[in-house]
């Protein structure tokens, strides 16, 4: 049964990208365990505004776990201690009365901090722009049922396509690698007949862009898969490696 709890939140505050940041601790009383983590952050901000202080800046939007905008490292875990959820779906029932909760931004070379807990993830857009698509113009395409796609292939492509681009995989990786993110897109399109024509070019272009933007290499620690809120499997990284090697051998 949900009850009300008193907590302390230790939040990373940082004015701008180049400014030194620090932790600030705030006390919150009577937080319902039925409220979401971000609702708790709303209550904290309401409290700060009423005290004449600057509210904590954090990214969030859909608040139903699909837009990938929310981030936050909570008590050492991206998207917090619950399994298979984003921060906006995390609820306060995962915490106890008297807890001190530490909240940090994604910390990775690829994601510079903008302010407080808000980071810049445009690098992900740039990787997709490098080749994460099928080159078709609007119009002039065949009928949707013209090419049958085996159900298992469509399903596996969908497993990969479920990626929400939140960046938890990068944030949790000790190498700051974006391999899980990149592999999800490469794998989705390599599995479908529509994506096959450009598969070699795509794998090379996306990996090259990822390297260029300062993301690290993959050493198969598996942390990304563990922390991915959408359960994207590292088997997609294996597929990306195959795609990439095949493409390179052809060169």
């Amino acid at each position: 049964m949900d009850k009300n709890i008193n907590i302390k939140v230790r939040v990373w505050r940082q004015k701008g990208p180049k400014v030194k940041g620090n932790f600030e601790t705030y006390e919150l009383k009577d937080i319902s365990q039925g409220s979401s983590f971000l609702e708790m952050m709303d209550i904290l901000n309401e409290q700060l505004i009423n005290e004449g202080k600057d509210p904590v800046v954090f990214d969030h939007d859909c608040r139903e776990g699909i837009c990938g905008m929310c981030s936050l490292y909570i008590n050492g875990f991206p998207h917090g201690p619950d399994e298979d959820v984003t921060t906006c779906q995390l609820h306060m029932r995962k915490f106890n009365d008297g807890d001190t909760i530490t909240v940090e931004p994604w910390r990775s070379a690829g994601f510079p901090i903008i302010r407080d807990l808000m980071v810049d993830r445009t690098a992900f857009d740039k990787i997709i722009q490098a080749g994460g698509y099928v080159s078709v113009n609007t119009g002039g395409v065949p009928d949707g049922n013209a090419i049958p796609i085996p159900k298992y292939a469509a399903d596996e492509a969908m497993d990969a396509a479920a990626c929400i681009g939140c960046g938890a995989c990068v944030a949790t990786c000790k190498n700051g690698s974006a391999m899980l993110f990149v592999s999800a897109k490469v794998s989705q399109l390599a599995l479908l007949p529509q994506g096959k024509a450009e598969r070699a070019k795509r794998a090379k272009a996306m990996v090259a862009k990822m390297d260029e933007l300062g993301f690290g290499n993959c050493t198969n620690t598996g942390a990304c898969e563990q922390e991915c809120p959408k359960n994207i499997s590292i088997s997609h990284i294996a597929r990306l490696n195959r795609e990439f090697l095949k493409a390179k051998f052809k060169d």
Binding site: G34, V85, P142, A154
Partner: protein, 667 residues
Amino acid sequence: MINKEDETAKVENKTTVTDNKIKLDSKIPKGPLAEKWSSYKAHQKLVNPANKRRLDIIVVGTGLAGASAAASLGELGFNVLNFCIQDSPRRAHSIAAQGGINAAKNYQNDGDSVYRLFYDTIKGGDYRAREANVYRLAEVSNNIIDQCVAQGVPFAREYGGLLDNRSFGGAQVSRTFYARGQTGQQLLLGAYSALSRAINKKQVKLYTRYEMVDLVIIDGRARGIIARNLVTGKLERFAAHAVVIASGGYGNTFFLSTNAMTSNGSAAWQCYKKGAYFANPCMAQIHPTCIPVHGEFQSKLTLMSESLRNDGRIWVPKKIEDARAIREGKLRPTEIKEEDRDYYLERRYPAFGNLVPRDVASRAAKERCDAGYGVGTTGLAVYLDFADAIKRLGKDVVEARYGNLFQMYEKIVDDNPYETPMMIYPAIHYTMGGIWVDYELMTSIPGLFAIGEANFSDHGANRLGASALMQGLADGYFVLPYTIQSYLADQITVPRFSTDSPEFAKAEKDIDARMERLMNIKGKHSVDHFHKKLGHIMWDLVGMGREAEGLKKAIEELKVLKKEFWANVRIPGEKSSLNVELDKALRLADFIEIGELMAHDALDREESCGGHFRLEHQTEEGEALRHDDKFSYVSCWEYQGEDKAPVMYKEPLDYEFIVRQQRNYKS
């Protein structure tokens, strides 16, 4: 102008209604319904490739409509500037659409056709949409599926490899294509990938974390926007030959809705204030299956897809004492015997059962809860039960169909829907009303276009499930890229604009002054404090059941709220810097005014139709009662200035091809 003597005229600060048709040319092509669009395309003006390069188009928004339009226009060769309020186009709220997208493919051989999709959509919209627009929508629906498949959207498939379909409300055929419970995500990522490709090819320039704050008009034509860089807080000027608004709906006027936190009506509202007509503002959709409100601190409501009504059965206890015992926690729903359950949708609407359209399902839930049969601790909830489906299909099949939705529900409510029925309640979800557009999707301001949820055009008084994705992508991929050329063909000799003109300077100065004024209030309460108050007024008085007295009260209360907000809001931080509270304050100032216009429109429309339910106008059985003789029109509101009542023009809806009927989902 002819003043209409009616209820509206008696309200203080009265609104004026006129029958002036001259100002509203919907530009519907002549000819038989099925030939209008092809005939339009055959005869429209086009822009040749060399000239396209010289024309700039601003697209505000990167959801299904905005991203698909920006990508398609870029591919055609126009120079596109695309603005995104989030940090990436992939975050636009189209991503949260769950259930599916309709198309008239008839892959299931169950009798579907373009005409039937058209008819269902018109009927579902309670005969308050334009025939020609809706027919075109149904016509291009099939192209959308083909386009998305070609992009690599992983739609659900049968074992034979062909596309699978499911059923949705308001239809007797299975025409909904889906990708698990996250169809919106997959379609948006498809459009996002097309947009990303266009960006890579330098056909589109993308601006992320930018919000449009004003529209710039030069010599009566839309020529640019002022946008606020949300990271630096600075205002920036952008010029173009045409401006396309794809900024979504204004459901967040209600504070609690299924919309995302940044979803707002401000871009559309700035267009209204610059002279674009706002059409049918009172038409807001209340979605029947959302997770019920749990407390005062709640920030948003979560939708549970309509597709759940394919297999879930909606019920409340038959005995009022059982409902009471459940609310007090003395009884569990699973302990209620089959004969003591009231499957009220199946009882009232035998032909459509649990798959009645959204407005009908929402009102039926409210009716049961108001009568005292509601469940949950608040009594504002009904059950959506999968026990029968699990018995019939097995848990595995149910999990394969709805697994992600069940997981989402469990994380929020902490209850297992495989074992205990889900609790649901209606919530604001979508706005059918929006900026008025003609057949070419151009607003009443030349050069200003509106697409997707931001316009009013295709859903009438109620939108059917899985039709929002269809309309957004239809507008963006297959309609606007044609119709915008009819306007731009006359613009090829117009050189690129400088943003140094007095019109740009004035627009920037005005918005800067507005921000300055907000910052200087230094009042006592946060933006959210006022937004919650707005939400309560709207939900209580302009919500699911509206009546004249309540609407007049709402108008008065909104005036007071507006005054309080402008006197007592507190915004910390600086004006020209990243300032989330200032972002929110600018949006809320507009939401309050949008609320007022919604109330005016709801007061004018003395009938019930679709999502607009006037308690004074219902049948003996409690169904919506339209008055086609008086209200077969689109209400088009024109801004008259600060604190002046708006003027309303009527665009008559003359149905040439179908006969209006009382909507019947019973037999």
